[in-house]
Symmetry: C2
Subunit: 334 residues, 2 copies
């Protein structure tokens, strides 16, 4: 550890996902200094995942030549329903967690204050505070990955509703009787435009005998399910019409979902993010914006921005740092 660094206070933001853990080290002014990544290994159970989160944080801090003792607070986003007051992950299907005491376990392990939120809420908070400098009074962040979720900033603050589950936009029905969703219902946004939906549609088209060059990207023993959103982009840029059509359909459904949000909540900014948008920004955004404005009631979208986030997969760690700083401040002012 460099001597000149030893007095620097630090804040850590963590994005806990179903497949990977990303940790970021920040200054109290929210300048990002370093990140580290580890796979989640959710199958090994809660205790082991907590250990891996702790190790990922240590890796990031160490890599930046700091010591864990300098970390004043940790903000962490978990993929599921979270009780921010107790720091419990109430329900996280991707991790197979139910009533998991994440705050308690991590604070015991690291002896640093930990604050837990829903991952999409944290992504929205990161985009709002860091990317948009806290300016929009009302902002909705919609994040498309394996699943789809949203975070709502209303009247300048994170809005989470009565049971703290607001933002479940992935299960907004856009097509009654449409394709089956993982939740058991039909026609949810997530069943029409998530990475899962896109690959399911691709798989079905291949089965039906349609041609695609994307199969050439498969390694030995790999199936379509092993491909990533970036592979879709590669195929489209090589001129794959099937992949292009399927991604365009997903973008149109996303545009309809954006219009539904615009009509209902009329936020100043709607930000799109997540792995699917990161990889396919150029292919999807213009279709999303055009469709959304087409479905918005006349006059309602005046002056409203619909944009892709620049933070990419770092939105979550930025949001974690913002949350940790907010909570530290409110604790010190009490």
């Amino acid at each position: 550890m460099a001597d000149s660094n030893s007095k620097q206070d630090l804040i850590v933001g963590v994005d806990l996902g179903g497949t990977k853990i990303l940790a970021g080290v920040f200054t109290p002014q929210l300048k990002r200094l370093q990140t580290a990544k580890l796979s989640t290994k959710a199958v090994r159970g809660f205790e082991e995942v907590v250990e891996r989160i702790a190790r990922c944080i240590q890796d990031a801090v160490d890599e930046a030549d700091f010591s864990l003792k300098q970390v004043k607070a940790i903000g962490i986003g978990a993929p599921g329903a979270v009780d921010p007051s107790s720091g419990e992950v109430v329900f996280a299907p991707n991790l197979e967690w139910s009533k998991a005491p994440l705050k308690k376990a991590l604070e015991k392990r690291l002896e640093i204050p930990v604050f837990v939120e829903n991952d999409c809420n944290l992504c929205a908070l990161g985009v709002h505070e860091i990317e948009l400098h806290g300016k929009p009074r009302h902002m909705v962040g919609i994040f498309l990955g394996t699943g789809i979720g949203a975070g709502l900033i209303l009247d300048g603050h994170l809005y989470s509703g009565f049971n703290r589950t607001a933002g479940e936009i992935g299960h907004m029905v856009l097509q009654v009787g449409g394709p089956k969703c993982g939740c058991g219902n039909k026609g949810c946004f997530e069943a029409l435009a998530s990475r899962t939906a896109i690959f399911r549609n691709l798989q079905e088209a291949v089965k039906a005998g349609e041609k695609t060059s994307i199969l050439e990207l498969l390694g030995p023993g790999q199936s379509l399910a092993d491909l990533k959103s970036g592979d879709l982009r590669k195929a489209i840029r090589k001129g794959d019409k099937l992949v292009e059509k399927i991604v365009e359909d997903a973008a149109e459904y996303t545009g309809v979902a954006v219009a539904n949000v615009l009509n209902l909540l009329n936020p100043e900014v709607i930000v799109l993010g997540g792995g699917v948008i990161d990889a396919l920004k150029d292919e999807m955004m213009s279709i999303i914006v055009e469709t959304a404005r087409d479905y918005a009631m006349p006059g309602t979208d005046k002056g409203i921005e619909i944009v892709a986030s620049e933070l990419g997969d770092e939105a979550g760690i930025h949001g974690g740092a913002v949350l940790a700083r907010q909570r530290l401040k409110s604790a010190s002012s009490n």
Copy 2:
């Protein structure tokens, strides 16, 4: 005018609709004293409608044995996009108004402070303050009539978004590619479950040769379009299976829309109101609630109430009185 009444301060709430004007006289404690009703006669133009609103208010005040001089403020809900700060009705398709200076014209005519809001916002405000005693922190009111709209109370206050058009739930798409809506798009909630949609479906079924007893309710020279929501109830109670099926379908779509709101906003209470719900409460509410809970993500609807408003078509005038009282208070405290 009775002498004992002459010192009583009054507040007036007005619900301006496409077909009728309803005015209510209230005490400052929001006790409703009297109402009056006039047809809108929108075809006669803005000046004439303003004159009719003034006359309707005078009728209500006079009927209650009071004088117009006792009215300290008027709150009025208009069916369209409203700028509450200027009191201008920006756009109201049912009245064929665009940039109509309602506040200015009515204040000039009556010499009483006038406050204007969107009609669904006022209905939500009335339900929240009067029927639910201001208790729920987050409440969404969904109103089904000729069209469908919503009013949002978030964090205890009316939420209207960036362009003050929030709550356009009638144009939330529930069925991409579904039936055509008055707005030009397809598959909107309003095109699936409004009074207009129900009668369109009925008309199409009759054309296709399906049997219904509802035609017996038609007077000489009347068409299905002349019937009211109450006629649907009469037909169902007489055992009309076609009408029952069509109303059930509308209730199911309404349940899906309620679930979308529940998943996205997670409010403590979702209240249903408007002419369709008033007339068909017993036929629709259990289907709406069951469908909504079915489509809500597990755990998100815990403790959340989905209820029909008891205020019926008086929600708007109550909301108008609440608004007028709020604005008077904030004016006197400045």
